[in-house]
Symmetry: D3
Subunit: 304 residues, 6 copies
C-alpha cells in the first residue's frame, strides 16, 4: 500500500510563459525508455515479483524504497511538463474560441499534447511514442535485475544531461538538476548492491557519462545539502535494512562532495507544488468554471 | 511524494500449485484497458495535471486519493499473478536443467511470461499486449475526466466479473472479490462527484453490470466490514476534503448493505504479503542462491 | 452490406494553398483516441457483435445508424486532411525533381505524411501514432457500451473544440463546425438511450465542455437547418425504430435552438466533393499522367 | 456517405456450440495484415485521398466500389467470429457466477477476447495483435496503389485458404468460401485495371496460390451463380464507369466457370443475419436483461 | 553466416553542418514501411524460411543475394542519417553544458533522436514510428513473396523519390541517388523472376513511378558505370545461379542506358566510410574522451 | 557491405515431426527483448553510429565483428523455428484442402505463425509481440553502450537457459547449446572492453545466471573445441584490432575449460543448412509446384 504526501520532492520555479517544446523535451525524461516511467515500472514490478524477500531483505528493501522514490520523480517531471506547456496558466474568461486563440499550438512539436492532454503530462517520450512493457525488465534473477537497473540509471543520467543541454528556462533545468543528483544516488546504490553480491567494484564506473555533477549549477544546492549521500526510506519504518547496502562503510563518489553515505528515515522535505492555474479557453478545468468553483467551495466547507 | 507500507490491501491465500493460465487471466486486470494499470495511470496523470487544485480541492483530493489506492491494487494483482504462476515456489537446489524441467511451460497460454518474467507480473493484458498511453485519458476538463473515470470503473467491474467467472482456485478469486468491492466504491465516488457538479444522479446506473456484489461469496467479508461504504485517505492528513463528495449525506448503493458513506483517515489494515519462495531451477533469485542468502544475512545484521 | 453515395455530408471550401500543419491538427479528429476512426470502430464492432438484436431493436438501430453516419465522418475529415495538405493541388507537368521542389516538406510537423501518403489522410493521430484496437470498447454489455459511447462523444467534442481553436483557414474550420453539431446529436442520442434504460437524466451533463455551439460561427447554418435535432437513418427503411429513443417526446438541448427531435428517413443532402487535383511532381497520380488520363477517358466512354 | 442494408453478403449457418479457437483463426481474416480490415482500410483511404477523380473515373469507381464491398466483408467475418465464440448464445438466467461458469475460457487461445469483447469480434489478428496504420498503403500514385492492392488480394487469398484448412465446422468454412470467391474477383479486377494502364497481362498470375476455387466445396454455389464474374456496384447509380475496367470484353479466369464479366447494378441479395442470442451469464447484453427487453419493447411500439 | 567488409556501397560527401530535419527525412528510407529495414527484413526472413532451396536455387539465390545487399543499404542510409544529424562532428572539449549548448535540438522535428541516439540512426520512420513485424511478409508461397517484393521495391522507389525531392544538401541526395539505381535493379530482378515463373511480363510496369532515373543527376555516375545492369553476388562463390534469372538474355529497362544484364562475382568497390568525429559535448563517445583514446591507442598497438 | 556464406554457424538436427509450441518458445530467442534480433539491432546501429572509429578502433572492431556474428545467430534461430514448425516438411501433392488438413494448427500457441508465415520465423517474441526500436540502445556514449551490451548478453543468457529448460527435442536444444556458448563469449568480450576502459573487473560477474555451461550437455562439444575462448573476425582482414581487447593476456572464465583467449581470422566452419522440404498443402512454395521446379531446373542449368 502507498500513502501520498501532497508535496513535490523539489520545488519548481513557475515558468513565465508557455514553452511547449521544452515540455516536449522533458517528456523524454518521463516516458522515454530511460525516463522515470521506466525506472518506476522496472523497480515496481521487480519489487512486486521479488522472490525470497525475507532472505534477501536488504536487496528487496533497496529496490522497494527506490521504486517508491521514483513515483515522486514521475510526479516531479509531470509537474514540470504541465507547467511548461501552460506557463502560469490563463484564467481568462470569455475567450472567443472562434478567433483561433490557440493557433500557435498547430506548430509546436507535439501538438497532440495540447489536443489530448490540454498541455498535461502523459507517459510518452519526446517523440510521443508510448511507454510500454518493452521498457520493463523483471526477470526475477537478482543479479540480472540489479545489473539492468545499474545500466538503466546510467542511461537515465545520459538522457537527463542531454535534455538539460537543450533547456534555457529554469523550470525544466531545476527538474534536471534534482533528478541528476537523485539518479546518481540510485546508480551508486545499485552498484553497491552488485558489489556486495559479486565483489565487483562496479561503482568505479561512475559517473557515466564522464562529467561531474559539479558542472551543473542546478545540482549545487542538492549537493550542498548532501542529497547525493542520502538514501531516503520512503516507507518508514520499513526498509531500514537497506543500510546493509548503503551504509557508513561506503562514502560518496570521488567527484562529489565527500562524506559517508546515510540512510534517512523518511522522505526529504521537498517543496510545495506550484498552483497550476486553469486555462479556461482550453476547457481546463472548463470554459466557464465559476459555478464549478462555487460548488467545490461549498463541498469543501462541508468537509471541514 | 509517496510512502510505501509493506502490506497488501488484502491477504491472499497461497495457491497449492502453479496455475499459469489463471495468472494469465488475472493479467487482464493488471495490464488490460480496463485493468489496474489503467485506473492507476489515468488518475495519476489526472492528479499530476490537475488545474485549479486549490479551488477544486474536493475533486482534486478525490482523484488523488483513489490514485494512491490504485497503486495498491496494481500491487495486489501483481502478487496474485506472481503467486499463481509459480505456486508456492520451488526452492529445490541442483535442478538438472538438461532434463527439460520446465517442459510444460511451452504450452501455457503466455509462455513468454515464464521466459521473460520468471512468472512475475508485467504490465500486459491477458493476451500479452502491452499497457500504453492509449489507455490514458487526462484531458484537463474536469467533467470529461470524471465521466471517463466513471465509465472506466464500470468497465473494470465487468472485466473483474468475467475474469472471476473463469477462476476456480482461491488466490485469484480473492483478488477479484476484493477489487470488486473497492472498484464499486470508486465508481460510486466518481458518480457522486459528477452528481455534485452536474446535478445528474448518475450513481443510479450502478451497479453495472447488473448484478449485486452479494452474488460473490468472496466479496462478503469486505461488505460485512463496510468496505463498500469507505473511502480511505491514502495520504493523511491530506485529502480530508474528499468528505465533501463522499460524505454522510450519501449512503450505500441500494443493493449493498445499507449505511452512511464514510471517509477513513488512513489506509485499511490490509494483509500480510505471502512470502514468495524462490524458484532456483528457473534462476529466481538464482540457480545456487546460498551464497547470496549468506551475504544478505550479514548485510541485514549490519543494518540493525 | 453498405452502399456508398458519392457525396460528402458537408461541403468543404477548397483551401487556397497547402497548410500541412493544419492538416496534421485535423488528423487528431481522424485517428486520435477520440477521433472519427474511434467512433466508427467502436460503433461498428458494437453493431456487429450486438446480441439480442431483435429484442433490443431501438438500441441496435441507434448504434447501427450512428455507425453508418460515422463512416461519412471519417470520409469528411479525410477529405479535409487531403485538401489541406495539398491545397488546390498542383498539376504542373515536368517538375524538375532535382531542384528539391518539396524542400519545405522537410519541416512540416508530420513529414512522413508527405513521403508515405502524398499528403493524403491516414488512420493516425496528430502526432502520427496509429489508431488501434485499444481505442475500441465492445463489451457486449449494453449499458457499458452505451456509457462508453456517451463518454466518447463528450471527449470527441472536446478534441474538436481544441483543434478548431488552432485553425484559421476555412476548410478545417468547416470540418470542425459540422462535426461539432453532429457529435452533439450523437452524445445526446446515447444519453437518451441511457436515460430510457436506467432512468438517469444523463443528457443534463451536456454540453461537455461547457460551451454552447452558438459560440462557433461555423455551426450556425447547421443549427439553423435543425441538424442538431435530427437523427438520420443511414439505412432506410431499416432502423426506423430508433424513433423509440430519439423521438418527439424529447427536445433539443437547452442551449441549442429549440424544437422537437426528429428521425429523418435517409441521409442529409450533403455537399459535393471538391475535385482533388493531382500533384504530378509528387507522383500523384503520377509524374506524367497524360497517357493515364487518355486511357481512363477511353474506358469511361466504353462504360457508357 | 454510406447507407447500411441490414443483411449480410452471405448467409452463415449457426454453429451448434462455441468454438473459440476457430473464432480466433477467423480473426486473422478480420484484423490480420492480409485481412478484411486491411482491404477496407487500404481502399477506403485510397478512395478518400484519390486525386484527379474526374479524369480517372473508372479507376476511382473501382477502388470505391470495392471499398464499399469490403465493409460488408468486415461485417461478415465479424459475424462469423461472434457466432463461433458464443455458439448459439446462452440466454440462461440466474447463472451462478460463483461457480466458475466460464472456467474453460481460461484455456482458449485468445482468452482476452472473452474478457474484453464477450466473444465479439475486434480488429486484431489471430495472435491478438492490433490492426494498425502500417497495414495501410495509400501513396496517391495510381500504379503503385493498384499494384499494392493486387498483391494484397493475393495475400488475402493465401490467408483465407490456410484458415480454411484449419476449420471443420460450417460457420467459418462458409465465411472462407464466400470470401475466396469475392476476393478472387477483386484480385482479378485490380489486375485488369493494371493491364489497362500498363499493358501487362498481370491477371495471368492468377490464381495465386495455385489452386482453383473448384477444390473448395463451399465456393461451389457462388461459382454456380456466377459471383466470380460479377462486380457489384455498392453505390448505385454511382460508379457505373467501372464497366470500363470490368467489362464484357473480359472473361472469367481460365480455372473458373467461363463467361463474360459483368457489372451488377447494386448489391447481391445476401443473406439474413443470424440472431445472436444473449449470453446473460457473461453480462451480454446484461445479467438480468428482462427489464431491458421490456423497455425496448415499449420503445419499439412507440416508434411504429 | 555473414562477413562484413568495412566499406560503404557508395561514398558519401561529408555535410558541412548538421541538418537534423534532413536526417529525419532520410529516416523514412531507413525505418519506414517502404524503407531499407523493410527490404532487409522481408528478404532476410524469406531467405531463412525458404523451402525447397535445392529445387528452386535460382530463386533462393536471388532473394538471398539481394537480402545481403540490403544490409549494406541499411548501413548506407544509417551513415547518411548519422552524418546529417551531427554534421562533421564537434570534438570541442570542455563544452560548458550549463549554457544550453544544444538549445536548438528542442525544435528539430525528431528531438528524441538527439536525446536517445545522439544523432545516430535508429529503425524508425520519418515520424519516429518503429519498424516492426507488420512490415514483413514471408508467406513461404514463392509467387506471393516475389510479388510482394516487386511491389515493395516500387513503393521504395516512390519513397526515395519523395525524400530526394525535399533534400538540398549533397549527403542525403547521394544516398537517394545510389539507392534509386540499386532499387531499380531489385525491382527489375523480382519482375524477371516472376516472368520466368508465370510468363507475365511484369517488368514492363517499370519504372514506377513513371520517371526515368536520368532525371536525377545523382544517379548519373552509377548509370554510367552500368550499375543498373548489375546484380552483385554478395556471397561468392554462392548464388551464382541467380544468372538463371538475371542473365544475358535480358537487357536493361528501356529508359535506362542500354546493355545486357550481368551478374557480378562479388560486391561493388564501394566507397570509404566518412570518419564520424565525436561530439564530446553530447557525450559521444564521452565528455572527456582523451583517456579513452589513450587506452584505445595502447590496445591497438598491442593488437598488431 | 556484407557477404553471406551459405552455411549455418552450427549444424542443426532435423526434427522428426512438427513441434510448433517448441518453435514458439524459440521465437523468444529470435524476436524477444533479449533475443538475437535485439543483439543484432543494438550492435548494428551502434556500429553504424560509432563516432571516432579511428581513435577507438579496438572497440569499434569489437562491436562490429560481434554484430556480424549476430546476423548468423538470427539465421540460426530462424532455421530452428522453421524446422520445428514444419518438421521435415511435407511434399505431399494433391492434399485435399477441403478436409481441414491443418485442423491442429488452430490450437497451437501462435496460430498466426502458420497463417502468415507458413511456419517460418518472424521478428516476434514467444507471445507474438513484435521486435521494435524500444529494444535498441545506441546512445553514442561508449561506456553506456558497452554496459548496455554487457547487460543484454546476461539477459540473453538467462532467456536461452529458460527456453532450453522447456525443450525436449534436439533441434531447439542444439540452437540453445550453441548460442549459450557464443553468448558467453560476447558477455565476456564486452566485460573485458569495459575493464580496459574503466578498470572495473566486471567479468567477475560472469556467469550470470550462476550456472556453468558444463551443466548443459549440448554445450560440451563447443567447449571441447574451444569456442568459448574464440572471437571470430567476421570481416577478415578487418577488425584484427579486437585482439587489443580479446587477447592472450586474458583467459577463459573460471568455470569453463581453461586456456588463453584467441581471435580467429574468419568465421567458424559451421554446418550445413538442413534442406527445408516444401509443405505443398500449405502452399509453400505452392500447391502444385512441379512446374515451378521444372522452370527452376532449366534456369539453373542455364546459369552454369
Amino acid at each position: 500500500m502507498f500513502m501520498r504526501i501532497d508535496r513535490l520532492q523539489a520545488e519548481l520555479p513557475q515558468p513565465k510563459k508557455p514553452n511547449p517544446n521544452a515540455a516536449a523535451a522533458l517528456q523524454e525524461l518521463l516516458g522515454g525508455k530511460y525516463g522515470e516511467m521506466s525506472t518506476l515500472g522496472n523497480y515496481m514490478f521487480q519489487s512486486f515479483n521479488f522472490r525470497n524477500r525475507e532472505k534477501l531483505k536488504p536487496f528487496y528493501g533497496l529496490v522497494s524504497t527506490i521504486f517508491s522514490e521514483e513515483l515522486g520523480h514521475v510526479e516531479l517531471v509531470s509537474h514540470g511538463v504541465s507547467m511548461l506547456n501552460n506557463g502560469p496558466g490563463n484564467p481568462k474568461e470569455d475567450v472567443d474560441i472562434s478567433k483561433a486563440p490557440f493557433e500557435e499550438m498547430q506548430d509546436i512539436r507535439l501538438a497532440g499534447s495540447f489536443f489530448s492532454y490540454g498541455g498535461g503530462a502523459a507517459p510518452v517520450n519526446s517523440n510521443s511514442m508510448s511507454w510500454n512493457v518493452d521498457m520493463v525488465t523483471t526477470t526475477g534473477n537478482l543479479i540480472m535485475d540489479l545489473l539492468h537497473n545499474f545500466h538503466l540509471e546510467c542511461g537515465a543520467r545520459l538522457h537527463k544531461l542531454r535534455v538539460y543541454e537543450t533547456l534555457k528556462e529554469p523550470t525544466g533545468r531545476e527538474v534536471c538538476g534534482y533528478l541528476l543528483v537523485r539518479g546518481s544516488v540510485h546508480a551508486h546504490a545499485y552498484a553497491l548492491a552488485l558489489k556486495k553480491l559479486t565483489g565487483v567494484a562496479i561503482e568505479q564506473m561512475l559517473p557515466t557519462p564522464n562529467i561531474p555533477l559539479a558542472n551543473i549549477p542546478e545540482c549545487q544546492k542538492y549537493l550542498d545539502e548532501g542529497s547525493h549521500r542520502r538514501l531516503y526510506r520512503f516507507g518508514s519504518p520499513d526498509y531500514a535494512e537497506v543500510a546493509g547496502v548503503w551504509s557508513n562503510d561506503e562514502v560518496a563518489l570521488p567527484g562529489d562532495p565527500p562524506g559517508a553515505l546515510e540512510v534517512v528515515d523518511g522522505p526529504p522535505d521537498g517543496g510545495q507544488m506550484a498552483d497550476l492555474m486553469g486555462n479556461y479557453g482550453a476547457f481546463a478545468p472548463d470554459y466557464a468554471p465559476e459555478e464549478m468553483f462555487e460548488i467545490a467551495k461549498k463541498l469543501y466547507k462541508k468537509s471541514r
